[in-house]
């Protein structure tokens, strides 16, 4: 029997009026600042949410180590995780009444800091690292080729405690509290089976993953990821992001590789650099983000153009030239990075930078040549160092009733 509320009673007579109202409002664009907070991103679908989902404003990324060698134990946790994740992405507690509705003498199931907050576009994206397979004694044929170790790059200062991991969960939301709540509760559910290896908070998405989004700026003050792959480019996503069945292994078909790099920026030094030099290094103007020599952000960069002295307008070692698909034989990736400021470094500087996240279907053929070109020639390298690195394989989206990693554990 349904609750027969007065509101719904009014609805019968009011439906027509409401429809007319919607018609009247449809002409106005909704203010972007208020609408997204209410959004619920579907948890299940062909691909995992949080990859081509229009990039939310906040990130909490966690890499976990698995403490058991029993795949069944991990499977049980993944099933519980999936149920909780699905509830949280819908704006609900991890369990019904989990924050305050349980036994008062028990610790609440849900930690409660997201009570009353909407879903705020929360997406939770799950991936597995190369180290998981041997740990659980999984068939080596299941290890995806794309999880091969990244080679060392010039200038890397990788900290092992900020790198790697058996599993990852990427939580993105428009509300930092919602993202943190999600990671915190999943971590808690995992105690005894998983433990946090490292985690990263991020803000101010630096890439747009949809043509509906403005390009944000990184902490160097430049628009970043203008030429990113976009959700509205299905062919590009198919060719560059989604793992195709013939790339193997079967359990990863329709999934993608997540490459994460924690890039510390020496912002204090950058800030002492003249505007013209900043623009030359990046290859774009700072005000509009237009390629040097062009007028607007989305104008194509003319890498062949030369100035009156015959020198290339866009410097040979400019960041956008080195990272461009033209320079890399057509390679593109889907960038989804976030800025971070993790307090200070104890030496008078902010511990700040870019938490680079990118999705692709062949890291060795896509990320490696791009990073190698940047690491060896990019002037920007003087201002940054990579301090953390990890690669994860994110399976395809979940069908009804399936759980995170099911395709792998029931392969």
């Amino acid at each position: 029997m349904s609750t027969f509320s007065r509101r719904r009673l009014l609805g019968w007579t009011g439906a027509g009026a409401a429809a007319a109202g919607i018609g009247a409002v449809a002409g106005c664009a909704a203010p972007a600042a208020t609408a997204p907070a209410q959004l619920v991103v579907p948890f299940r679908g062909e691909h995992q949410a949080g990859i081509v989902t229009p990039a939310q404003d906040r990130l909490h990324f966690v890499a976990l180590d698995v403490l058991t060698d029993d795949p069944e134990k991990l499977k049980a946790l993944l099933q519980r995780w999936t149920a909780a994740a699905e509830r949280m992405t819908a704006g609900a507690e991890t369990t019904p009444g989990g924050a305050t509705g349980g036994n008062p003498n028990s610790p609440p199931d849900d930690t409660g800091e997201a009570l009353g907050l909407p879903a705020a576009s929360l997406t939770l994206t799950f991936g597995v690292g190369a180290s998981l397979f041997a740990k659980l004694g999984l068939d080596p044929s299941l290890v995806p080729a794309g999880l091969a170790d990244l080679p060392p790059f010039a200038g890397d200062q990788l900290d092992p405690t900020l790198s790697g991991g058996d599993l990852c969960i990427q939580a993105c939301s428009d509300d930092p509290q919602v993202a943190v709540h999600a990671v915190r509760n999943l971590v808690r559910m995992g105690f005894g089976t998983t433990a946090v290896r490292w985690s990263q908070l991020g803000f101010g998405r630096t890439s747009s993953t949809s043509t509906t989004q403005e390009t944000h700026r990184n902490l160097f003050g430049f628009k970043d990821g203008t030429n990113n792959l976009k959700a509205e480019d299905p062919d590009g996503l198919r060719d560059q992001v989604w793992v195709s069945p013939d790339q193997g292994p079967a359990w990863l078909a329709g999934g993608s590789y997540l490459v994460a790099r924690r890039i510390r920026m020496h912002i204090e030094i950058w800030d002492r650099t003249s505007l013209v030099e900043q623009e030359v290094i990046i290859g774009r103007t700072k005000d509009r983000g237009a390629p040097i020599g062009a007028a607007a952000e989305f104008d194509p960069a003319d890498f062949a153009a030369v100035d009156e002295t015959g020198a290339p307008r866009i410097a040979v070692d400019a960041h956008i030239r080195l990272a461009s698909a033209e320079a890399l034989g057509g390679v593109k990736i889907l960038r989804r990075g976030y800025n971070f400021v993790d307090g200070s470094d104890g030496q008078g500087h902010l511990n700040a930078g870019l938490f680079f996240i990118a999705f692709m279907n062949d890291p060795q053929a896509q990320f490696v040549p791009m990073q190698r070109a940047l690491a060896t020639s990019d002037v920007l390298m003087e201002y940054i160092e990579h301090t953390g690195s990890a690669v994860f394989a994110c399976p395809a989206g979940l069908g009804e009733g399936s759980y995170w990693g099911q395709s792998l554990f029931e392969a």
Partner: protein
Amino acid sequence: MSRRTPAAVGLAVLGLAMAGCTSTAPVDTGAGGPITVAAADDACDVSTAEAPAGTISFDITNGGSKVTEFYLYATGGRIMGEVENIGPGLSRQLIVEVPEGGAYETVCKPGMVGDGIRSAFTVTGSAERSVDTDTRLAEATAGYARYVNSQVEALVPKTQEFVDAVKAGDVEGAKALYPVARTYWERIEPVAESFGDIDPRIDGRDDGEPGVEFTGFHRLERDLWQDGLQPDSSSIADRLMADITELAGRVPSVELTPLALANGAKELLDEVATGKITGEEDRYSHTDLWDFRANIDGSQGAIAALRPVIDERDPELGPLLDERFAAVDALLENYRDGDGFVLYTALTPDDVKAMTEAVDALGEPVSQVAGVVSS
């Protein structure tokens, strides 16, 4: 047939109808809300597979083309609730009172035939308490009281030995006795902490707070390991012995409840996590692992006393506790050194991380015990 019969029957019908009422006012489940069921000709998607015992409401929407029915079955096929005639495109509600936790099944029957589309549904929480349980709980507290008394009976003479060594100026002997005497103290720490006045005198640390005198075990620890014996070390030792004796006299009066046991078991792990693993407890002697071991012993003692009740109410929790306690035990054994343990200073960050992970893993199930014994 009297003329009044219809009216009487009408009233009886109303009375009967109202007698079996249950409130459908929205229960405040935070962001949870009612459980939604998306039914179709070949699907029955229940938004959650778990709910707390009590009144559970399902909102079933039939998105298929066949008429469907929705049932909640208990074990053995007993119907807890059903709603029939959910026509295509309709939403109907099932509100069902489930007093007992356990395994249930949600079922949609598209076309109103057959076994339907079934999925497991867990109800958490528990039933009314039995007299039998009260007996078990009483046995648990009595058993734990015996454990506490046995620890106190060893604490008094061991502390006496330690104090005597300090007063005799036997620094090496006192250093060897210090972690041993503390073991009995740390095992019953939650009970000792219930005496808010004694605990700081015996186990206070030097936090430099003005006006607070630094006495007890840790003051003597500082003298033995760092400053050398001081002129007042002997009197501090005497006061420690007097405090321990007073504690021993007061312990039998402590009101032990099953809830206090369960919370004590959890507090001991909190002590480990915040004091021992960090090396803060024994900052001069670095004998933190002795205290770590003793805290775990005490937690195990409380859990063991409660075990019959735990097993009766949550058959899965006991084995999980066993497994996690065993993991901590095994980890600690790696750091054994003769009768004692290696010093905290010998631990690497990786060692500490492994300990943190093991204690986190144990802390979660231990934190569930209070709810289980009090439900």
